[in-house]
Symmetry: C2
Subunit: 381 residues, 2 copies
Amino acid sequence: MTLLGELYEREPPIPPEEYVRIGYSELKAFVTSIFRAVGLSSEDAEVVSDVLVAADLMGISSHGVQRVRRYVDGILRCCVNPRPNIRVVRDRGAVALVDADGGLGHLAGVRAMEIALRKTEVYGVSLVLVRNSQHYGIAGYYALKAAERGYIGISSTNSEPLVAYVNTVGRTLGTNPIAVAIPRREPPPILFDAATAVVPVGKIELYSKLGRKVPEGWVIGEDGSVLAGDAVGVLEEIRKGRAAILPLGGLGEEFGGHKGSGLALVVDIICGVLSGAAWGVHVGYTVGTKPANVGHAFSAIDVESFIPREEFYERLEKYVLEIKSLRKHPSADRVWLPGEKAWLTSQTRLKIGIPIHKRVCRELNEIASDVGLGERLPCGT
Amino acid sequence: MTLLGELYEREPPIPPEEYVRIGYSELKAFVTSIFRAVGLSSEDAEVVSDVLVAADLMGISSHGVQRVRRYVDGILRCCVNPRPNIRVVRDRGAVALVDADGGLGHLAGVRAMEIALRKTEVYGVSLVLVRNSQHYGIAGYYALKAAERGYIGISSTNSEPLVAYVNTVGRTLGTNPIAVAIPRREPPPILFDAATAVVPVGKIELYSKLGRKVPEGWVIGEDGSVLAGDAVGVLEEIRKGRAAILPLGGLGEEFGGHKGSGLALVVDIICGVLSGAAWGVHVGYTVGTKPANVGHAFSAIDVESFIPREEFYERLEKYVLEIKSLRKHPSADRVWLPGEKAWLTSQTRLKIGIPIHKRVCRELNEIASDVGLGERLPCGT
């Protein structure tokens, strides 16, 4: 089944009158200008912009340009370093440790994955950890960098506490995502990119905008009671720090809440404890009173160290075809591969532009004005 | 909080009169004799027995000696090779590919993890894949081998199809577990060991024995309807191939079913597609008409390549203490670390013996008799 001709969007602009569509190149150049204006080098500004706009392209707007304000504030107030001296502090065989010097995670992320790719070329596999970093955007971006080179890429990070540890209340763990990208003969690559929480907070934001109800099993309050229903109210409790997102697997152990929170813990121990970064409740927010000290992990696996490339692709295409031929559940619209929705959305948006909420669009213009830029996005009326 | 003095068991023998307690050494020697009698070398028989009895020690009886029949039948009928020539078929830097020659997965697993540990000593990280193998028991066993050496260990495998891919019906994926073991200054190590399915089939077996009801969200029928209630009936549907276990995250995407099945798919692509083993519906059962061609993956991470060991331990103990100090959910009995229940159960059972269901005990005696052994376990009346 090919969907190349379709204009699919995983997160369509609803209601349409609240959005404008902005061309990929225009949006990227605009965001690049902003980061240059707040002190990043031209090259670094382009890297950060590329990661953010990629998220919008893929329909993950929660991690897209709506976060520019947060990163800019972190630079202008505290404690993001706009000109980090990103250094390899340990290097041994197939592993390395990178110190991000308090710069944006996107910069250290791209650099660390490049190191991982070079090491994988020599050793077949690699692991590069990063400490003293900041939020790095979508985990999948870095994993895809490996897949573009024909490797299997893995990327993970810890993040500020939003998620309850199993059998407890309150926020202890980040949404600590895991991304794995697997190259195919033709795009799209398989891209698994998932928070180890039951949902990302961005999904609850989306529900609140759409007037949808939060189901029981996503969020718990301080007293351990399930928070559900009106998404606006649930979101407010989360924003006020009075509620936590549940781990993948939900409340308690009956449906595997110990698995989701166990995965999040393992991610945190590797990205945070082992790297020398912060962990758990100590991981900071981008705008704060001290450096966030986020930690990341990057790995790449050389396919050809195990099997001839063409044989791998042939086997994988057989598997993909088998999955696509499975009998659909009566309640499902389609059988999807991991990353397929994101890729189709990207293709659509490269053609017809990226829907940006007018509020976000105006906010970007305000930021541009604040930092002394003359250019403006066309945000409509 | 230390529980060293308590006799904790995660899976207590219920009802007690259906069980006998057998000493660890006695059980292990008995099972070793059986595998020697069906053609394994003394050394190999001891390895297989050690993995199986370890599962019973840890309270994972679904993967313990109750599976001896299955493995023995695979050897005597088809298609387990009792004297495999386990070979490294590819070896490059930090990676290797092992061909298990159709032998029991425990043998290839222990061998492959040993190779991974040697490579990690040199390169800081490693990845060893295995093809042409059989069921390897509990994933955590191999990860723990790395933790015993002071490394972080990772182990994963594919397995025969029992789990539905998200938005589809029928069995496509194995329960494809992921295990990660993290060493601590003092035992127990942290041991995350979880199927990527919402539950292992062993849990439904346990519920059927205890007369408990299967909750909605574990199992779906061929028509996509939720199967719940009477566990005996649900188990029968699974055994007849008319029902599938749901992935972690459950039915559809609302609670993350795409995450659980995505993780299972990624495990299968690395363990199966990349290694040259079978994948998805092609992975065989231990007793069949052709070799199961199971695939595994093993990795180890050298802590000291990233951080001085004592610093790692100190940071980790702080994190552990923070988790243990979290406010308990009103419905929870205790805040557990991954692997803590298994470790406490092991300590208990090393002292007072391993509870073996009398039916399983008699079955072991029958197998011993069948293969010409004189010794018998004391199975009570």
